[in-house]
Point group: C2
Chain length 362, copies 2
């Protein structure tokens, strides 16, 4: 496989989506009410390693239950439950649940990889992207999403200048850790609810999400990467006014409005990602707002896992959002915030791209 | 029923437990390794209303799965699953799961109440407290536990004087809200793990826990009490050094060490509690450290539910710890912290009492 090739897919709806994107209109209604969101995926980034996989949670036909699928380099989709049945493989996990698959560990992973390899080789029973409605890979997390604050130095510095609340001015010795409620989880192309009576300062925060595989407590930094199942594109969408001014300096509530944490469109398993090549990018209505390298991350993933798991047991399927780089709206001059009709695009290069419209609640 | 009567139960092990309590020795080993923790319950506080119930999650024989029980005024226990089968009632919920029962709403509640009434009347098949190992009523919450900070004025004031970190000095317009991880949940008589290499400033915070019944979003203050399923005794046990100094002012991590949130011994359903009569009390090794009335609470429960549910969907079984009064260890002069062998007792009058030893991790 050519690692540098970007698979530009011929997707019938892409031209239409593109023009909607530019005008900032109509996506929200189109994607959730009629078009399957897979049609919005125009590029499947190549994997860094041959043994990596892209795993998503999709609805494959109207009214069907969500199920786990593998997404191939050419954008074709394998329905893992159906394919296992066709190959007469008795799965060690529930193929309708990403959490069940993650818990199955190396045995489940080996089993799934074999199924995908056979299906890819046979090239039968593959589905097209346009047939799938993409949900968050983990639609209902087992507990709150862990998040790291101030984890890119340039974001730390812009925050120091822009904030009204009390924040220490010294570089941190330990990562800032907070959580987002489980109802923040949202699909990769689903709308972010906007309620002006609650917040008029909705802001973007593009982030690389880490999905924990094997759980553990007091995980040493040198062992931490063995506990990573994979990566996904994530946006820690934040109501700044609620975060900074309303609840005494604790960020939880301003970070936890329903639907304010889209993830997807899939998880790339750890072997498929070269972290040093990862860039974290946010665009609003097509205009780039954030763009930084994993190399600029202050506390790297091994340190984050070690700090988080100190006295706190991590579980398979736990999600860690690793922090956002500079370029968020509240730190801009003048400040910028999201408004209904805006399109927030979050790209993690080598992993995937999600695109969420802001939609006023009625 | 005499509302003022306190049912002093004749429990064979109570004398032994009392002497262990005074010496601060041995409870931890005794309760978890051999004695069923029900033997530690010496008083069952009377209910404020006849239609209230005490519901617990217990293991009723060695090796059995946890199941939901009702605890009667005289301390006798009804195994709800077994009793429903005996009464030939097909339950609308899974009687081994408190969360399943809470989700079943008014229909489940009416069904369970009828079963309990018949069993109480017949006085057969009742079990003794000593037969039960009491777990947290909700051993594994669906997501993080919500907590309110600075919710008693005297605690706010003592905190202002004692803290090194940056906290606003003005009285809050909105409650401070943070969360504790799901692994903080601990049984009513189980040990709190102590790891001096992580924290040497373990502190107590006795709190009234509210258990949400019917879920909802943007719940109005005037409707909020309809969403309360019941109450339990809770301790927001806190590693002060981790909370205040290690993670940039966000409290999550210092509040979220495994086992640092015991709850129980049961949930008293809302109809069984008169909030104005509730006192929140903490004792360490038998010495009273905190004692305040619900009336001193700054943001009362309706306001807390309204603020929390603003843009954030609450679910059946969600747990809200409503804040702690003054008297915590870090604000004392000199400061006091928990150490291995200490016994932390949390009493919510009219609800229940939990008692947790501090035990060094090996």
């Amino acid at each position: 496989m050519d690692k540098n090739r970007r698979n530009l897919l011929k997707v019938s709806a892409s031209a239409a989506v593109g023009s909607l994107l530019m005008s900032g209109q109509g996506i929200a209604g189109a994607q959730t009410d009629s078009t399957n969101s897979g049609a919005q995926i125009k590029v499947v980034p190549p994997l860094a390693g041959k043994i990596g996989m892209r795993l998503a949670t999709c609805v494959l036909s109207a009214g069907a239950a969500p199920t786990v699928v593998a997404v191939l380099d050419d954008g074709k989709i394998i329905d893992l439950k159906a394919e296992a049945a066709r190959q007469k493989v008795k799965l060690r996990f529930d193929a309708t649940s990403m959490l069940s698959f993650i818990k199955s560990g190396n045995d489940g992973m080996a089993q799934l990889k074999a199924i995908v390899d056979r299906a890819t080789h046979q090239k039968t029973h593959l589905l097209a992207l346009e047939q799938a409605q993409f949900m968050s890979p983990i639609p209902r997390p087992n507990r709150n999403i862990y998040c790291v604050g101030w984890n890119y130095l340039d974001h730390f510095e812009e925050g120091q200048k822009a904030r009204a609340d009390h924040v220490g001015a010294e570089l941190p010795d330990h990562p800032v850790i907070f959580t987002k409620g489980t109802h923040t989880m949202n699909g990769p192309f689903d709308p972010i609810p906007y309620d002006a009576s609650n917040s008029t300062q909705e802001d973007w925060e593009a982030e690389l999400a880490v999905i924990i595989g094997q759980g553990g407590r007091n995980i040493a930094e040198e062992d931490a990467m063995k506990h990573v199942f994979g990566y996904s594109a994530y946006n820690d969408t934040t109501a700044r006014d609620v975060q900074q001014k309303r609840h005494g300096g604790q960020w939880f509530k301003g970070k936890s409005l329903d639907g304010h944490g889209p993830m997807g469109p899939w998880i790339v398993t750890a072997a498929g990602v070269n972290l040093d090549d990862v860039r974290v990018i946010c665009r609003v209505n097509g205009v780039e707002k954030q763009n930084a390298s994993y190399k600029q991350m202050y506390f790297k993933i091994p340190r984050i896992i070690a700090e988080l798991s100190r006295g706190l047991t991590l579980e398979p399927g736990d999600i860690i959002a690793t922090g956002t780089p500079s370029g968020v709206g509240f730190a801009r001059k003048p400040q910028e915030f999201l408004k209904p009709g805006d399109i927030m695009e979050t790209e993690i290069t080598g992993v995937g791209l999600i695109r969420n419209p802001i939609r006023a609640e009625t």
